[in-house]
């Protein structure tokens, strides 16, 4: 049976048409038009149709708009916190679950997926409740433990907006990384551990010399996907702080969204083009890594 026999046939293309028609019409074409819009002046409160503006929006963004700088800084901070928290916690859980002879792995693995499956857009009210400064569960317990004075309650979402949202994000997302990392750890051949044991290697050196090299290809994928999804985060910040207080948790993505809802379409487009370029840089690093490994 020759599978390449159908190389010239129409069937593979016919099968692709429904899916790719949607992608081209509803994703690719609109995004391309948005790139054009970024070179125009188009604010619904001022003009009804886009007018050519060259690099005007970008010049404004980089030289005059203080909020753009602030949201850029917030974005970098957000990416760093999210990747740091999610990866290290996920790896920790994976390591714990990977111990030999540990029973109940499946139980924990399935249990951990609960917060991953429950949509944050439904669960957020209870987190807002837990973090309420006065009368919230967290501060009440902190006070009972003597860690906080009730006259000066910690206003979590105002004082530490990014960190609070990131920890809720960890709750709703860590299971994914943990389970994928666990699968990768489990794929390491037993003999490699055995030889490490014969060399009387300690836990740390086993991790560094055997496990880490095995994890590395997956790490790169996880980090890349993590950075991309952190740059594109919308749901969790939007429902928990809405980007506030002020601009304290407004990332570039939310800043673009804010401009979209306020009607400055050209500026929305310019911000999203900058975001797109940042994501391409990440993708380039990834491709370079994959290419270097193959070479």
């Amino acid at each position: 049976m020759n599978w390449r026999g159908s190389m010239g046939g129409k069937l593979p293309y016919l099968l692709l048409i429904p899916a790719f028609a949607l992608i081209v019409a509803i994703s690719l074409a609109p995004s391309t038009y948005s790139i054009y819009l970024s070179f125009t002046k188009y604010n619904i409160n001022i003009n009804r149709h886009p007018v050519w503006f060259g690099l005007g929006q970008y010049i404004y963004m980089f030289t005059q708009d203080g909020f753009a700088y602030q949201t850029f800084a917030v974005t970098l901070e957000w990416v760093a916190i999210v990747i740091g928290l999610n990866y290290s916690f996920g790896l920790g859980i994976a390591k714990l679950l990977n111990q030999q002879g540990l029973k109940g792995k499946t139980f924990f693995r399935v249990g951990f997926m609960a917060s991953f499956a429950a949509p944050i857009t439904g669960v957020w009210p209870i987190w807002a409740r837990i973090l309420t400064p006065s009368g919230g569960l967290l501060n009440t317990y902190l006070e009972q433990l003597g860690l906080m004075d009730y006259r000066h309650p910690i206003t979590w979402l105002n004082t530490y907006p990014l960190l609070s949202v990131a920890i809720i994000g960890l709750w709703s997302g860590f299971a994914f990384g943990a389970i994928v990392l666990l699968a990768q750890l489990q794929s390491i051949p037993r003999e490699e551990y055995e030889s490490a044991r014969l060399d009387a290697a300690g836990r740390w050196s086993t991790f560094r010399n055997i496990e880490w090299p095995h994890l590395m290809p997956l790490n790169v994928v996880l980090w890349m996907l993590g950075i991309i999804s952190a740059l594109n985060t919308f749901n969790i910040i939007y429902v928990i702080t809405g980007g506030g207080p002020g601009f304290a948790s407004t990332t570039l993505y939310l800043y673009a969204f804010r401009n979209l809802t306020s009607g400055d379409y050209a500026y929305t487009a310019a911000i999203s083009v900058v975001l797109f370029l940042m994501e391409l840089v990440v993708a380039a690093f990834y491709i370079k890594y994959v290419w270097l490994r193959k070479a």
Partner: protein, 279 residues
Amino acid sequence: MKQKTQQRLSHAITYIILTLVLFWVIFPIFYLVSASFMSQADQRLVVPIILPRHIDLSGWIFLINNLGVLQPLENSLAIASITTIIVVCTTILSGYSLARFEFRGKSAAFNLLLLTQFVPSVANLLTLYLFFSEIHLIDTWGALIIIYSTGGVVLGSLLFSGFFNGLPRNIEESAMVDGTSRLGGFLRVVLPLARPGIIVVAVFTWINCWGEIQVSTLFTTTLAARTLPVVLNQLQTPYGTLSFSAQFALGVILAIPPLILFLIFQKYFKPTVATGFKG
């Protein structure tokens, strides 16, 4: 002997940590359900309680009678389900094509799928918003279904092509030797075998649509097509603290169906399948 004790100790510590983490995972969901049955008085206690002093349905009743959630509930269910059907039907074909054939432009097709992952959705939504306003598609199920389907098609194509790659070819080949056409082979032999793949794509798509908030916020201005996450998000301002329990009750309605779906089908979600998922 010493090693055995050491292992036992390390297992004990592991169990303690894992149990604490599991508690942290489950507790908010449990608390959400429990708090939806609290009375107004329970909600306003200075020292918060975890279980209601008595089961109080006023939040649920207020939610259903006063907040008009039945239309959004219908919207959410219909939009997520129609999208799921569209995505499964289109991507089982595209995934099969990408996995089973060699043809010109195949790697271009894959690159296109990857490229869409690097485009921030807001760039895409901007133009769609302008266009859909122009053709009066705002406030319709159609607008949301089209956009959700496109997102689902990318993920679905990748998941299905991975799935078919893992499915041995000789089954289809023997069917074709028996004289079945390629299309006949697909329908009679491949489709039944694709059940696990269909379940994974369907569950992922449905859960993603069910919890989606950005598109629904942008493309709806009335309850005609608005979905539940947006309703929940907009509850806080006009009703304030009056309806804490109602807010939690709506949270329960949103959180529970994905949990049930996931529990029923969890054996199909293997880590290899998950890597195609955009976090």
